[in-house]
Amino acid sequence: MRPVYLVSGGVSKFAKARPDVTFQPMVKEAYDYALKDLGLEFRKAAELVDGTVASYFSDHFMRQLKAGSMVQDYLGLTPKPSKRIEAGGATGGVAFQSGWEAVASGRYDICVVYGWETMSHVNTWKGNEFIALASDVSFDYPVGGFYSGYYAMMVVRHMQEFGTSVEQMALVSVKNHNNAFHNPYAQKRMKIRIEDVRASEMVAWPLTMLDICVMSDGAAVTILASEDGLNKLEKATGHRPKPAKVAGVGGGIDAMRMADRPHGEVILLPHEKAEDYRGLKYPGVHSFRAGRMASKTAYQMAGITNPLEELDFIELHDAYTSSEIQTYEDMGLCRYGEGGKFVEAGKPFMPNLEYGYRFPEQGKIPVNPSGGLIACGHPVGATGLMQAVFALWQLQGSIGKHFGSNQLQVKNARRGAIHSHAGTGTYVVVSILEKGF
C-alpha cells in the first residue's frame, strides 16, 4: 500500500434548503473551493484527476438515479472513471476510505471524492420515513420506523445501565452549538444552555429537538493524492500542497436489527483490560460494536495505543447527543459507561472557549470543534467528507483562513480522527489524519 494524502477540500454552506440550485452546482461550489485553495485551474484538474468517488445516500430524496454521473459531467471530469458509494449515514466516511483505497492501491494518483445530499425535496417527516427505510422493512420499519426513536431506545438502555443523565446529553448540544457559533459553514449557530435543550420540544423520550441533528442540503469535496500525485500537483501549481497524511483507516458493521445485537464480551482496545468490564453485556443496544471495531482497526494501523493521549481532536458523527456520548466510549476516550462523566468534566470542549459553565478538565481533547452534525447539519453524503475537510484545515493550521476566525483552531494539531456512523451503528468508519508536511 502506498501512503495517501488529503491535499485539499471544500464545503458548501449547509442549509435547510438550497432551492436556488440543483445538486450539481452545489457540489461544484465545494469543488471550486478545493481547487482554488490548492491553486489548481479547472482544466488542469480535469487533466490530472485519475478518477472519482461519488458519495450520496438516498435515491429516494433525489428521485434521480445515477446522479453521480450528472455531477461528474458538471465538474468536467468526464470521461474519467467513477463509482458511487452508499453506506447510510456513514456514506461520506466510507466514500473517503474508498478514495483512500483507490490511491493506496496504485490505481489513481489523484482522486476526487465528492459528496452531497438534497434533503429539502420532501417534508421533514417524509424525510424521516425515507431514512427509516434504512431499517428492516419486514420487522422494524412497520412498527413505527423512526431513527430518533431507535436512538432513544439505545440511550434509555445506556441510562439504565450506566446512570447517564439527560443533562449530560444536553451538554453535548451546548458544546456543539456553541462551537458552531464560530463556524460560518454551520447551519445552526447559537449559544445555548442545558435548560434550552431540555425545554425544546420532545421528539422521542428522552431526546429533544436540540439533541438531534437536522436535515440539510449541502456538499463537500476532498482531493486525495499519492506521493506521485503530490509531485504532479506541485508541478501544476508551482507550490507544494500542505497535506494531511491518512495514517489509519478502520471500519465495522453490526446487525441491522438492534434486536439482534448480542450480549457478549467487550472488544478491548490496547489500553483496556477485561477486568474493566466484568459483568457488562456487550454491546447490547447501549453501545456501538461497529464503532469499537472501526476505532480498533484504525488505531492499529496508525500505531495509536491510547487515543486520549495520542489524538489532538476528533470530528465524530453526533447525529444525536446520546450517540456522541456512546461514541466517546467506542473510541476509547473513556471506559464504557463513563461517557456522561467525560462530557460533564469538560474534556471534549474547546479549551479556550467560554460555554457559560466551569469544567474541571476543559479541553482535554476537543470533540467536534466544528460543531458536528448537530450544529453544522447532516446532508448525509457530504457529512463524512465535511469532517475530513475540517480536519485537514485543523492540521494545516488554516482554520482562521477558512472560518474567518481562529477561535476553533486546535493549537498545534498534529493528529486527529474522523468518525462516520450509519443508522444505530450498522456501518461505522474511523480514519486517522496526521499533519503531512
Binding site: V156, M202, P262
Partner: protein, 178 residues
C-alpha cells in the same frame, strides 16, 4: 413549398397537468441569473409487492395468536426476532413459540415519527426480552401513560396481545403491562 400550402403542425393540448399559466420573463437575458427558482410538486406513489419469504411463518403465527422466534439447530442460539440462518454458526434455525410474557429491555415514547406513523403519535416503542432467548423483539407497548415516561418502565413485565384483524405486519402483535 409555398407558404399557404404548408400545413400547420400542432401538438394537441389540454390543460391537464398545467400548473401555471404565466411566468414573468425579463427582456434582457442577462437578468435571468437573478431569477428566483421555479419549484414544482412532483408526486410519486408506489405499491411494492413485498414477499416475507422465509420469514412468512412468523406472520402466519401472528394471525393465529402465536409469537414465533427461531432456534438454531446446531448451536441452539435463540432469536427473539426470527431469522432462518444462525449468525454465529451458519446453521439452519427451527421455528419455536416464544413465551407470551416477557419484559421491557428498553423503550421510548415517540412524540413525532415518520410521515406514515405521524397520526399515531404519541406511541411507545419497546424492545422485549425473555429469559433464555438470546435476542430481542421490537414492538409497541399499550396501556402506559405516554406523558409520563420513566426509567422504571425498564424491566416491566409485559404480555403479548394479538390483533383480531391481522394486517400481516409485525404490529399484529403488541404488548401490554402483564
Amino acid at each position: 413549398m409555398a407558404e399557404q400550402e404548408k400545413k400547420r403542425i400542432k401538438l394537441p393540448e389540454t390543460d391537464e397537468g398545467t400548473v401555471l399559466f404565466n411566468v414573468p420573463f425579463p427582456t434582457d437575458l442577462k437578468d435571468l441569473k437573478g431569477m428566483a427558482p421555479i419549484i414544482i410538486k412532483q408526486p410519486y406513489h408506489i405499491d411494492y409487492i413485498h414477499s416475507y419469504g422465509q420469514d412468512s411463518p412468523f406472520f402466519a403465527g401472528l394471525a393465529n395468536g402465536k409469537l414465533l422466534g427461531t432456534r438454531c439447530g446446531p448451536c441452539k442460539y435463540t432469536y427473539g426476532t426470527p431469522r432462518l440462518h444462525c449468525m454465529y454458526c451458519g446453521g439452519e434455525c427451527d421455528w419455536v413459540e416464544l413465551p407470551k410474557e416477557g419484559a421491557v429491555h428498553t423503550f421510548t415514547v415517540c412524540q413525532y415519527g415518520s410521515e406514515e406513523f405521524l397520526k399515531e403519535t404519541p406511541f411507545v416503542l419497546i424492545l422485549v426480552e425473555w429469559p433464555g432467548v438470546d435476542t430481542l423483539f421490537l414492538a409497541r407497548l399499550m396501556g402506559v401513560d405516554p406523558a409520563k415516561p420513566s426509567l422504571d418502565w425498564v424491566g416491566m413485565k409485559v404480555r403479548a396481545q394479538f390483533k383480531r384483524l391481522s394486517k400481516f405486519k409485525p404490529t399484529d402483535v403488541y404488548f401490554v403491562p402483564a
